[in-house]
């Protein structure tokens, strides 16, 4: 039976979610073979996120049945207050299943999604939000420019060409180094990359003094939750490979797919090539007089004693 009043009823205010939820999906089922460097990649991803993100945000990590070592790392980060919401899934529900969870449950108005093999650079979120604000029809903004098939951005082009206040430019705006960095991370050879680079161009839009490239990718993007929620549920029969439907549906629904002009995130893949030192910023925890062990112990004793006396 209930004795006394639940003290939770005396909590007048609970912390409100930040406007932005940064969400990551992790899946590292073992630390060998393809995933041999998986934990190091994850640490690099999280470290760079904490280091490079100055805007307030809540971090949500959905772990899709990773191995014990990865769970331990995530639980420790959650304990330190560096992950606000940690979801541990005992089964791999697929990337689509994880997206279904995140896109519906994430408490922020804006969701900045990322795979867990991404390196974040300073300014990635600021620039993504700036583009979302300048292009209200934007559905997703990836924080690095890239060249993707036109089939996924026909709506973006169509919209841009109809807007008198949008400047549309076509040309080779992406530097070779920036282009190469991304395609190499996908396992493409440099020779193949050179052929592609020479045969394709970029489209740049400018509105209200803010420029963005036409294109986006589902490995990392920032999007309004209200738009993402329109596309759930995603198919979740397979762990991966069905998420391209987000790109297709977003384009079909007429939303813009854009990227920043600068490479503010980097796809790491499953191995660190030496250029990315693991960033590990110091934990930030609240410091409070009531957290001092002796004071806390004494107060807990008093608290407990009052309860016993009051409800005897």
């Amino acid at each position: 039976m209930r004795i006394g009043q639940n003290p939770a009823k005396s909590i007048e205010h609970v912390p409100q979610p930040q406007r932005i939820t940064v969400a990551l999906v992790t899946y590292i089922p073992f630390l060998s073979g393809y995933y041999a460097q998986g934990l190091d990649v994850l640490k690099t991803c999280l470290g760079s996120l904490w280091e490079s993100t100055q805007i307030l945000y809540d971090l949500l990590v959905f772990d899709n049945a990773s191995c014990a070592e990865v769970r331990a790392e995530l639980l420790e980060a959650q304990r330190q207050g560096r992950i606000q919401y940690l979801v541990l899934s005992d089964k791999n529900v697929g990337k689509g299943g994880a997206w279904n969870f995140i896109f519906q449950a994430a408490p922020g108005e804006v969701i900045a999604y990322s795979d867990s093999d991404v390196l974040f650079r300073p300014g990635w979120l600021e620039r993504s939000l700036e583009i979302l604000a300048a292009f209200p029809q934007a559905g997703m903004v990836t924080a690095r420019p890239m060249r993707t098939p036109e089939a996924f951005y026909t709506s973006t082009l169509e919209w841009a060409r109809q807007q008198p206040d949008v400047q549309v430019e076509q040309g080779s705006f992406l530097s070779w180094e920036t282009y190469l960095e991304h395609v190499l991370s996908l396992g493409t050879s440099e020779e193949q990359a050179r052929q592609w680079y020479a045969s394709r161009q970029d489209i740049r839009l400018t509105r209200q003094g803010v420029s963005a490239h036409v294109s986006a990718a589902h490995f990392q993007f920032t999007a309004p939750k209200s738009i993402l929620a329109q596309f759930v549920p995603f198919e979740m029969e397979r762990p991966m490979g069905q998420v391209r439907s987000l790109d297709e549906q977003m384009n079909a629904a007429g939303y813009l797919r854009l990227t920043t002009c600068e490479p503010l995130v980097k796809h790491l893949g499953n191995s660190l090539d030496g250029g990315e030192a693991r960033v590990d910023s110091a934990a930030v925890r609240r410091s409070h007089v009531f957290d001092l062990p002796l004071i806390r112990k004494a107060l807990l004793r008093l608290y407990d004693e009052i309860f016993r006396i009051y409800h005897t």
Partner: protein
């Protein structure tokens, strides 16, 4: 860079959720005071759920900023594969805030919710499903007759069925033991309990199936169809545990034209925050031998020292009672505040 192909793309199947998903919210900020038995009670909730549920289900536990010991216990359950989804929230985002997660995200067709101090009895699911099947317009079905109408007579969804020949309305007089048990669960004083014995509960019967249900449902435990759950979020969530926020669930469900219903017999029991010999006896019956069992010695009644008896008299004095409550709440806030 990517080296090799991701094995996850090899076409392996992803997990397909069960038809039924059950969620509970845990908030045990310390193991003192009000919460001194909460961890043990949580164990009983999960164990009774496991023992008394006849169908496969996915279990989601939402931890709302509990203490390290409670999280360690949940981790242990998770590692033992007794929890399918464990959500750890750094902060207490309130009961309604946690509901927002649960109702928005659980992929199951039917979403069962229970506070983490509910004891499940065999048959709870069958009885709930029987009501859900007989009343497809049900938005919330509890496995215990509902005695307290949080909407205070404002609910209108069931009124649409008046005049429909398939349904009849009537009174249900629960047996005295059912009322006794309900009052025990909520720790009701005689004054609060008295009206429950004096008036019947409103009931509705689906003629064709011969299924009768009590009109009204409880926030403590219920099943909500996913299709309804998705339409009620987001609920306002700015406080820890206030009826003003949690009852917005009821209003939204009613506005959708969905019924609040409950079973005539109590298939769940509100354990609250203390373990009594009566409860322990029942826990023993529900939870099969060999799983989590209570240790009677731990819960024997301690003898009171003289100073404590004096202190008890003092705090019950109207003059000091309020100050004591304020001090208690202040300490709670100081020890567990998020700021």
């Amino acid at each position: 860079m990517r080296t090799g192909a991701n094995p996850a793309k090899a076409g392996l199947p992803a997990y397909k959720p069960q038809r039924l998903g059950i969620a509970t919210i845990v908030y045990i900020p310390s193991q003192e005071g009000y919460f001194q038995d909460s961890l043990e009670i949580l164990r009983f909730t999960l164990a009774s759920l496991r023992e008394a549920t006849s169908q496969s289900y996915d279990l989601l536990v939402f931890d709302n900023g509990s203490c390290a010991e409670a999280i360690a216990e949940l981790r242990s359950f998770y590692e033992q594969k007794q929890i399918d989804w464990l959500v750890l929230s750094q902060h207490n985002i309130g009961k309604a805030g946690a509901w927002n997660w649960i109702f928005a995200a659980m992929p199951n067709e039917l979403i069962g919710y229970a506070d983490s101090d509910v004891l499940f009895r065999p048959g709870w699911l069958e009885a709930s499903l029987q009501v859900l099947e007989a009343f497809p317009q049900a938005g919330m079905v509890s496995a215990q007759p509902n005695f307290y109408d949080v909407m205070d007579g404002q609910g209108v969804a069931h009124l649409k069925l008046r005049g429909d020949e398939r349904y009849t309305f009537g009174d249900y007089w629960p047996a005295r033991e059912i009322i006794d048990e309900y009052c025990l669960g909520i720790g009701a004083t005689d004054e609060i309990a008295s009206p429950f014995y004096q008036k019947p509960l409103p009931a509705i019967t689906r003629q064709e199936q011969g299924v009768r249900a009590v009109i009204g449902a409880s926030h403590m435990q219920f099943i909500i169809p996913r299709a309804v759950a998705r339409q009620v979020v987001p609920l306002p969530a700015s406080m820890g545990l206030r009826r003003a926020e949690t009852m917005s669930l009821d209003y939204k469900i009613d506005e959708l034209g969905c019924l609040h219903l409950s079973t005539q017999n109590p298939y769940v029991f509100h354990m609250g925050n203390t373990l009594s010999p009566r409860l322990l006896k029942e826990v023993d019956q529900v939870i099969e031998a060999g799983s989590i069992r209570p240790t009677a010695a731990k819960y024997s009644v301690a003898r009171q020292s003289g100073w404590r008896r004096m202190a008890v008299r003092l705090v019950r004095h109207p003059r000091f009672n309020r100050q004591f409550v304020r001090l208690y709440n202040f300490l709670f806030q100081a020890l567990h505040s998020e700021k």
